[in-house]
Symmetry: C2
Subunit: 341 residues, 2 copies
Amino acid sequence: MPAPRGHAPSMRDVAQRAGVSHQTVSRVVNDSPNIRSDTRERVLQAIEDLGYRPNGLARALAHGRSRRIGLLMESSSHYGPMNMLRGVELAARRAGYAATTFGVTSPDEFDEGIDFLRDQRVDALAIIAPRAQSLESLARVTLPQACVLVGSMPPDADGFGPIPSLPRVGVDQALGARLAVQHLIASGHRMIAHLAGPADWFDAQVRRNEWFRTLEAAGLETPPTVEGDWRPQSGYDATDALLAIPGVTAVFAANDQMALGLIHGLSDRGLAIPGDLSVVGFDDIPESAHFRPPLTTVHQDFQAVGEAAVDLLLQRLGEASHGSPQQIVPELVVRTSTAPA
Amino acid sequence: MPAPRGHAPSMRDVAQRAGVSHQTVSRVVNDSPNIRSDTRERVLQAIEDLGYRPNGLARALAHGRSRRIGLLMESSSHYGPMNMLRGVELAARRAGYAATTFGVTSPDEFDEGIDFLRDQRVDALAIIAPRAQSLESLARVTLPQACVLVGSMPPDADGFGPIPSLPRVGVDQALGARLAVQHLIASGHRMIAHLAGPADWFDAQVRRNEWFRTLEAAGLETPPTVEGDWRPQSGYDATDALLAIPGVTAVFAANDQMALGLIHGLSDRGLAIPGDLSVVGFDDIPESAHFRPPLTTVHQDFQAVGEAAVDLLLQRLGEASHGSPQQIVPELVVRTSTAPA
DNA sequence: CTGTTAGCGCATTCAG
DNA sequence: CTGAATGCGCTAACAG
């Protein structure tokens, strides 16, 4: 049990009790090699007695590194962002870093967030900015050296977005979309509609573009897309528009939630899935396996993305990295919401 | 545009450029009243020229307050905890505090988390510890003065859990469970089963207990519960056990995900909902409104919980608080997964 | 109204 | 192997 006397003990207190200078205490704490083992023992004992704990702030100020990474994110409650947040936080912690989060609810606040986190002297910055506006806002400020964009690749991934020098990690959205559409094509569908996400979201853009390209490459028609807002209700609301597409036999929904709403809408109209219409989702949220019917979808490992992001940051900081890939590979999960045409 | 010369400018640099002492700069930055306005202008100009930003670390070290709150949480990817995390973070930010998160994956790591965050010198601590083990772990360490338990009330809320002095904020789980069960009773159901959450989770305990008490109070039978793990699959797996209860016409599931799995299981067996069995969930996740059928459930506002937690913390820190209630009131959302017996 | 002098708790030179 | 200076960037007393 520690013995708190009024205030938290400092190095000085420990030094005094051990009969050494505070430098020596510092050396013991940072286990420097040049310490006589009995001195070390004495100091360790004093530390134990006093319940001493080093002050992270002071250490950071002196050492110049805070061992904290900042996490700037557009705080949506969507499945993807939340899980990437979690992935980043866990990975950071494993590397001995704390994660300080700054959630914004509007793209305008990104500037403020950058300033805030920089003032906090975070060593590195992970940014979850899933919409175009967010990135534009970012383009106007000077970013820290160690900085990574998490989970959002602008559609022209090889060309560059508005922030050329910013490295990115994320799931290969184009591949995911291709897997989904090709699965439908392979099942014999020839008129495949797309229930898109909000046009200002990068992931929505990429998924839509790849849906388009894949159909074109297969020589199939590309019907007009219907746009939702990621939420189930918007999928539900899109039902009629989707059904209005002549000859449609399958829909590629940009996420599972909208797919759910769509399935709901279809069944309300007495249509069977996949009998009358095949539906594919994207994300593989925990619920998808138990939709009625269980949803065929594209699985993406958000936590792995978070880890990869931290890994890249550590590398930038000169620490050992695990060499995670920057592109996480998504996987098609075939369940029963899709069937041959 | 700032003019970064090698390193980030300090107060001294600003002072020098403005021809004043760094103290004066400090006064301007913290807008102290006693400053001649032309001096202030000069300093402000220098700050602008240099792109100066105060160093949060140094400020915290000197001032004794870091303006950061620590968030210690059992990092599950469950809907509730994640959204409370978000609520806490947003509310903290609105109050000018940064939130530093420490996520643990096992209750054993709570001690470590406390130490970590305390070393980081957070001003206050919010703890999301939804399981019994977590709290036990917490009982062994000395907690900071400003500390709050978020979203998890031990079942004996009036009596006290293992940590007497720890204030708590959260949704009134007992009320939520009561609303759910009473709705079923009012619909004429007389044999109401419970698909419980993991027994070591507080919320699961409270919901189960209240289900039990409500049935007893109504003079109804209390069949054995079936325990799941919150996930949809466990609801699916519980189907047969639930159906084995003689005369069962309704099930109160401890969360929406398990309710979803159960609905899936029931429909696989050719049973109709609510025709053959009524199902009520808990949480009101975004998907629930579009389940087949749309799920009757208990809505709880996790974000409000986060806000209330921060509010209480601010109060403890001597800052103005909004006077949020400590108990958030849940609401029954009646949809179509329930019907008269 | 402003400058001077001290720290906050630690790390990083240097001596010895 | 250890201790004495010096500084990280800022705030908090006091002076004047």
